[in-house]
Point group: C2
Chain length 336, copies 2
């Protein structure tokens, strides 16, 4: 059983993932679980038996774990958390721990061995977004879980161990530190201003129009004012909405469209970089008036080094105004 | 002038480092400033003119910026912050910014093109530690600075752009978020227990003796209870001491010895990995009874991916008890 342990100084939880346990010598070489070869890819249509049995799929009447699907959701084969069991919070001398209970799922985004959203038609991105919402709504029914984190790692340098385009989801028995920070920060702003800080950001960005990358009827894509890394980009719903799972049917095509457009632009301007994106949403069973869900996309272009680790703040050599301009125009800067 | 900008939600500052400004196309390839070729290394003896003029050196009577030194401290050629100027805090619509005023220095740790502490005799590590303390005491005299962060990036994957062994130092006009978290967490513990949390950690670890890597008369090296990454290791003074610059002459050889020994073990067990280490110390001009300086060493063996970015907590496949055991014995685990 994996263990959740709490740092006694700053209160950050870590998962000691015993299922993924390695010997020291395993760290010397690169991760042996990396599969970047399509012929052995467990996510390709026809290879359904190479994954654990599916949790959910969008299928045309074909049976589970066979071909004939457009989206498949399966448990992670090397889960960071165990789906069975109780949390059992307990002390360990002066320290605090609990069982690593949670869900760790993989959303296989398309049956063909495609590595990028820009190789997918936009209606397939609709399916991806819709699958996210469906899984989140389903996991909300498990009273052990307080938070669902949906994220995507693209490329080995961004932590992916498989090339076939996919996202992941982790359901957690606690609200993670980073989310608590956003909740507390936005609450403090709300207390002072009686307005949602994200709504205010949207309004200022749309008025200034220097960090807006693009927008459609329902969503805006911006380079944030204080990005921690070059070309960090946020997608926010224009409508105030605290939780991702409140996403309405009518919003889905617009979210898919803006995400698809951004992926095309990022690949065009930055040459198919590794990246992470993360859905930032409120905890399950909460609907805080001061919080506003959004997606943060972070191309991995620089290394996080000692300064960043030690200080928790970031040196970013790319002003967001320039990044927004480059993504807007698709200009790679070579004409400057 | 670089700019410090504040994230309006979580309050994290970032440095928009205009001196390091790049065009989008510059991110497509790897960093052109990386020099891993000894023949052109600006840190080697004889190449002193390739760096900005030195701030300090340990020399045998030779003139500044010539050969004949054992340690040289120079300004970073591509500084993230500007040494001249005032902070000028100001609003920018709803946002907050200030001038990026600060010091960014490089500590060149030895005149020969050596890449590792384990190729240095321990008395040279004495000099390194002593140079850290000297710079910190000196920068304390500048009233604009609130914090000095000393760190080391070793290897390209840990953010180093030069191979020749060196550390860096950044003096900041604000106390960084990560440090504030440690200060607040340790203060809360102190309020509850009336004891320093780090002293308590030391006592429990030395009693349990399962996560202690090794110790000498003045320092203990441990694998912390809740490490964010595999083989994260902390070095703490046994004596309660809030600030690194309070390090006493008599402690220096013991710090050098334990740091040197740890570097040798890390290279032996993990095969010369990239790593970062960071000196965690209290803000300048403060001597909080609840804080205890220490060094955190983080070999870079796994990628920080979407989950970590989104949640602020970490999946670690290496239990610290195993890591401590491996570092203690020098066993690479192949005999298991």
């Amino acid at each position: 059983m994996p263990e959740l342990r709490k740092d006694p100084v700053i209160g950050r939880w870590v998962i000691i993932a015993t299922e993924r346990k390695k010997r020291p010598s395993d760290f010397v070489n690169t991760d042996e679980r990396c599969v970047f070869d399509p012929s052995t890819c467990p996510f390709c249509e026809g290879n359904e038996k190479k994954t654990p049995p599916e949790i959910m799929a969008y299928r045309n009447g074909t049976p589970s774990d066979s071909s004939g699907w457009s989206i498949r959701v399966v448990p992670n084969k090397f889960p960071a958390l165990a789906i069975e069991g109780e949390m059992d919070r307990m002390g360990d001398g002066m320290f605090d721990k609990m069982n690593g209970v949670g869900a760790h799922e993989v959303i296989i985004e398309t049956p063909t061995h495609v590595c990028n959203y820009d190789s997918l038609p936009v209606h397939e991105v609709n399916n991806i977004v819709s699958a996210y919402r469906e899984r989140m709504r389903d996991l909300k029914g498990d009273p052990r879980f307080k938070y669902v984190l949906i994220f995507k790692n693209k490329g080995r340098d961004a932590g992916a161990s498989l090339e076939h385009t996919h996202s992941q989801l982790i359901a957690l028995p606690i609200v993670p530190k980073r989310v608590v920070e956003e909740l507390e920060g936005s609450k403090e702003y709300y207390r002072f201003k009686e307005r949602c800080v994200f709504c205010d950001i949207l309004r200022q960005e749309m008025k200034d129009d220097v960090r807006v990358v693009f927008e459609n009827q329902e969503f805006v894509c911006i380079s944030p004012y204080a990005p921690k890394s070059p070309f960090e980009t946020w997608i926010l719903p224009k409508k105030h909405q605290s939780c991702f799972e409140f996403l309405e049917d009518a919003q889905i095509p617009y979210l898919a469209e803006i995400l698809h457009r951004l992926m095309i632009k990022i690949n065009e301007v930055l040459g198919d970089p590794p990246f992470n994106y993360i859905v930032h949403t409120a905890p399950l069973h909460e609907d805080p008036v001061h919080y506003h869900w959004h997606i943060e996309i972070m191309p991995k272009l620089t290394q996080v080094a000692g300064f960043e680790w030690g200080s928790g703040f970031y040196i970013n050599p790319a002003p967001p105004e320039d990044a927004a301009q480059a993504l807007r125009s698709g200009d790679s800067g070579d004409q400057d």
